[in-house]
């Protein structure tokens, strides 16, 4: 698998960049002044990682749980799916000195439609949360915090300097992880 993909954002140059990650994209930054932001998280999940020793931060915004849903898309845009995207996020972070054992990982998103509960045919959010947790657990990564579920849309800002994740909905700050 490629390292930073065509779809991933390049490592930032200079100080204090705001890196905006779209759906099916990821970004990893080693510049402490950077903030990685992603908008419009509904049923999608943002996986945020931060290594305090090297102060590298990474954020993946995936849409669907499994690459097998569309293998061609997974090859072209691995960050679309939880399994291929999380693997790529960690590989990209390792290349910048991140150690899995030190990683602080947080999950945000996975909202569900009010009328659709459980694992229904159209319930993407719950499937996404479960898949992300399963992949991380199987790989020995502890999830340090979550702001998941419910029906609210979320925007995430991850600070590379201290790994703080701010989650907002509209103009309201809903969580600081």
């Amino acid at each position: 698998m490629a390292t930073t993909t065509d779809w991933g954002l390049p490592a930032p140059a200079g100080r204090g960049a705001k890196l905006v990650v779209g759906i099916g994209e990821l970004a990893v930054s080693h510049s402490p002044d950077d903030v990685i932001v992603t908008h419009a998280l509904g049923s999608c999940i943002a996986v945020c990682l931060w290594d305090p020793a090297v102060r590298v931060a990474g954020l993946l915004h995936f849409l669907l749980p499994e690459a097998k849903l569309n293998m061609e898309r997974a090859r072209k845009q691995p960050a679309t799916f939880a399994d291929s995207g999380i693997a790529l996020l960690f590989q990209t972070a390792y290349a910048q000195g991140v150690d899995k054992k030190r990683c602080v990982v947080r999950l945000i998103g996975g909202a569900e439609v009010a009328g659709l509960q459980g694992i229904g045919a159209l319930n993407v959010g719950k499937r996404n949360i479960l898949m992300a947790r399963q992949i991380l657990w199987q790989n020995g990564v502890i999830i340090a915090g979550e702001s998941t579920g419910g029906t609210i849309p979320r925007t995430v800002a991850l600070r590379a300097s201290d790994g703080v994740v701010e989650v907002s909905s509209g103009r309201e700050l809903v969580a600081r992880l």
Binding site: I23, G24, H39, A40, L41, G42, S43, C44, L63, L64, L69, N70, R73, T80, A111, E112, V113, A114, G115, L116, G120, A121, L122, V124, G125, R127, T151, I152, P153, S169, G170, R171, E172
Partner: protein
């Protein structure tokens, strides 16, 4: 749609005025709808009417000559209409018209582009659902209904000053959907207003019905067009288009996947197709 007429009588004067003064649909749209109804209309005369709008003709030719149609290039509006089909042209005419009307909808936490993209994504999703489920013979006007399904948000935002945070707070406090909160706070919701707009613009009854009930989780209407619009709205939200303040706090029939024969794999495929379409659309936007 007599119920809509009675609803209209009960609406605040500002809202009614907002609907009745909304720029009328172009004549081309009405004539295309007449043609679709089987009225005595000529494609040649409609094409001639289209020729008067150079921007639209350019879009039409671009679509007709895209790789999807793989044939000799269409040279004029008539050839293009014959290539892409009457419904696609109607979609384009309505899309252009809607685009000219779109303004931010702060009541819903949506900026101008959000509202537009949500309609466009829903339209793409409706088309993808129809493509995936040809056996259901879903009317192609589902695409148009999906495009227009949130037009009521535009009217409400223009004529009522309601704070999105107030609606969200009410919905959270009373554990109701956003539409229910709208109805409790202002007496009606965007689906009602949208249906009145559709009626005012003389869209077919099934289009107005789909707009009216697209958040009605308990709907008993047996309409694949309505089901498609409901699912298309869901897909648009899944791909992050137009989440706004409502987010995913809206009603959806719990059995919609059965009526549309959608399992998760097909639904995921529709989401990906829609996301691709939105990417193409935004790239086109950026290029123009």
């Amino acid at each position: 749609m007599s119920t809509l007429s009675s609803i209209k009588r009960a609406l605040p004067a500002d809202i009614v005025r907002g609907i009745t003064t909304l720029a009328p649909l172009p004549a081309t749209a009405h004539r295309l709808m007449a043609l679709l109804r089987g009225d005595d209309e000529s494609l040649t005369s409609i094409a001639a009417l289209l020729e008067s709008d150079q921007g639209l003709v350019a879009s039409l030719l671009r679509r007709a000559n895209s790789a999807r149609y793989m044939a000799q290039p269409a040279r004029n509006a008539l050839e293009a209409v014959m290539r892409v089909g009457t419904v696609s042209v109607l979609d384009m005419v309505v899309q252009e018209h809607l685009r000219s009307l779109i303004t931010p909808a702060p009541t819903y936490g949506l900026d101008e582009n959000d509202l537009w993209l949500h309609g466009a994504a829903s339209q793409l999703a409706a088309r993808a659902i129809r493509t995936e489920r040809p056996q259901l013979k879903i009317p192609s006007t589902a695409d148009t209904a999906a495009l227009l399904h949130d037009i009521g948000k535009l009217i409400i935002s223009r004529y009522l000053k309601v704070d999105a945070r107030e609606v969200t707070a009410y919905a959270n406090e009373h554990e109701v959907t956003w539409s229910e909160a709208e109805r409790c706070l202002i007496g009606f919701d965007h689906t009602i207003i949208g249906a009145v707009v559709a009626e005012h613009w003389k869209f077919p009854d099934d289009v107005a019905l789909a707009i009216r009930h697209h958040h009605d989780a308990e709907t008993t209407h047996d309409s694949r067009l309505l089901d498609t619009v409901m699912a298309a709205n869901l897909v648009a939200k899944m791909v992050g288009c137009g989440l706004g303040a409502e987010g995913l706090n809206f009603g959806v029939s719990a059995t919609i996947h059965e009526r549309l024969s959608l399992d998760f794999d097909v639904f995921a495929k529709i989401c990906l197709t829609t996301q691709d379409g939105i990417r193409d659309l935004t790239q086109q936007q950026a290029a123009t």
